[in-house]
């Protein structure tokens, strides 16, 4: 029951089909900002099914986040998980999405705030940013975590104590897998996202893959690379024939 009360005192940041995202505090007087992700009950589902799905999804999201932390991937810290109400509280990342930093003016994150920033504000070049992305993805895949929704809007840059970090967010669709196929599809989805949201920065993605390869190690990279080439030819979905 208790975390519902927090939602009333928090500010709604955005709403999707699955969840609402709020910005608020866990303590009063307020100290650290937190993000509250509320997976509301789905009216179109049977109540018990809705509750069951929310329960498993919130648990798997929290587990994926902690698994990332343990493997050196920077993600928001998990603070409180309430499976009863479907709320997960995590660290508020005070930064900008990579999408807005790569100059996408249509980015909703960019439109609703005044403090638009550029890469210079964070002191990183485009090339350095690509290296950071590749490194994070490499570490994540080494830990067998598949994000499933890699886009430049699900990556943020933030500065803390003078250090600039790349933070991966939204692990709502993530799962665990050691299959080369899943990793290759993950990379392919991001590649498509890059070319459609940032058509002007073509070629940047190659730098991401380079740094990903370094992080993963040559041996593992060769198999992923081969599969990525296959995926590029056929698309994200595998043929269901046979």
């Amino acid at each position: 029951m208790s975390l519902y009360k927090l939602l009333d005192a928090s500010e709604l940041v955005s709403q999707g089909a699955e969840a609402k995202v709020y910005k608020g505090f866990l303590t009063s007087p307020p100290s650290q900002l937190v993000l509250l992700k509320y997976r509301f009950p789905k009216k179109y589902r049977h109540p018990s099914l809705s509750a069951q799905l929310t329960r498993t999804r919130i648990t798997s999201e929290a587990r994926a986040l902690v698994r990332c932390v343990r493997n050196g991937v920077r993600v928001p810290d998990v603070r409180v998980v309430d499976v009863e109400s479907g709320i997960i509280a995590m660290e508020w990342i005070n930064g900008h999405t990579v999408r807005s930093l790569l100059g996408d003016s249509e980015d909703p994150d960019n439109q609703q705030r005044e403090d638009t920033a550029s890469l210079e504000t964070y002191g990183v070049s485009q090339e350095q940013l690509m290296i950071l992305i590749g490194q994070a993805l490499g570490r994540m895949h080494k830990a067998d975590i598949i994000h499933s929704d890699l886009t430049t809007s699900n990556m943020m840059i933030h500065s803390k104590n003078g250090r600039t970090e790349l933070v991966l967010i939204d692990f709502g669709l993530s799962f665990q897998s050691n299959l080369v196929e899943d990793k290759a599809v993950d990379l392919y989805v991001l590649e498509r996202a890059f070319s459609s949201t940032h058509p002007q920065s073509e070629g940047l993605y190659a730098a991401v893959l380079d740094s990903y390869a370094t992080e993963l190690g040559t041996k593992a990279w060769i198999t992923v690379k081969k599969r990525l080439d296959d995926v590029r030819l056929r698309g994200r979905k595998r043929s269901m024939v046979g």
């Binding site: 919130i58 902690v66 493997n71 810290d77 998990v78 309430d82």
Partner: protein, 160 residues
């Protein structure tokens, strides 16, 4: 002790007494408190009282006596954190503080002055072989340990 006398004795020490060496940061402590409060609110306490629940939330395993042994105070304890959780909206902080002082002999210091035993933390949460700790400076390592501890505590209710 039983009966009225026992009640009085118990209410005099109705706090969470926590060994401060294993506390990595205020955020870690707050996370444990939040988890305990939430469990209380949901009627899902795993231990008898809210104060023992805070110690349980801090401990990486689910064993209650293990949590008391690690995070509770002992005869040798020289620095501790005392926490009072209460539902009464009128509870006066300065009154609680003076009540605490009457049961603990010592000085009150800011939390930042309490030192953390980082190698004990590493051992307690079994972080020795974590891939994310490789090749970090001492300062970075402490930040990363703190982060893993916070996440461990936050995840605990759903990790089991």
């Amino acid at each position: 002790m039983t009966g009225e006398e026992g009640e009085r004795e118990r209410s005099a020490v109705n706090y969470a007494f926590i060994q401060s060496e294993l506390i990595t940061s205020l955020t870690a402590l707050e996370t444990a408190i939040h988890c305990a409060l939430l469990a209380e609110e949901n009627g899902a306490l795993r231990t008898k009282y809210i104060h023992s629940e805070i110690l349980w939330a801090l401990n990486p395993t689910t064993n209650i006596s293990d949590a008391f042994r690690r995070f509770g105070v002992a005869d040798t304890t020289t620095s501790m954190i005392v926490i009072s959780a209460s539902k009464l909206p009128t509870t006066d902080a300065s009154y609680v503080q003076s009540a605490m002082q009457s049961v603990v002999q010592g000085d009150i210091v800011p939390l930042q002055q309490l030192s953390t035993d980082w190698s004990a933390v590493k051992k307690c949460y079994k972080l020795g072989a974590e891939p994310s700790l490789r090749g970090l400076s001492i300062e970075e390592e402490q930040l990363q340990i703190d982060r893993m501890v916070i996440n461990n505590i936050g995840l605990k209710p759903v990790a089991i």
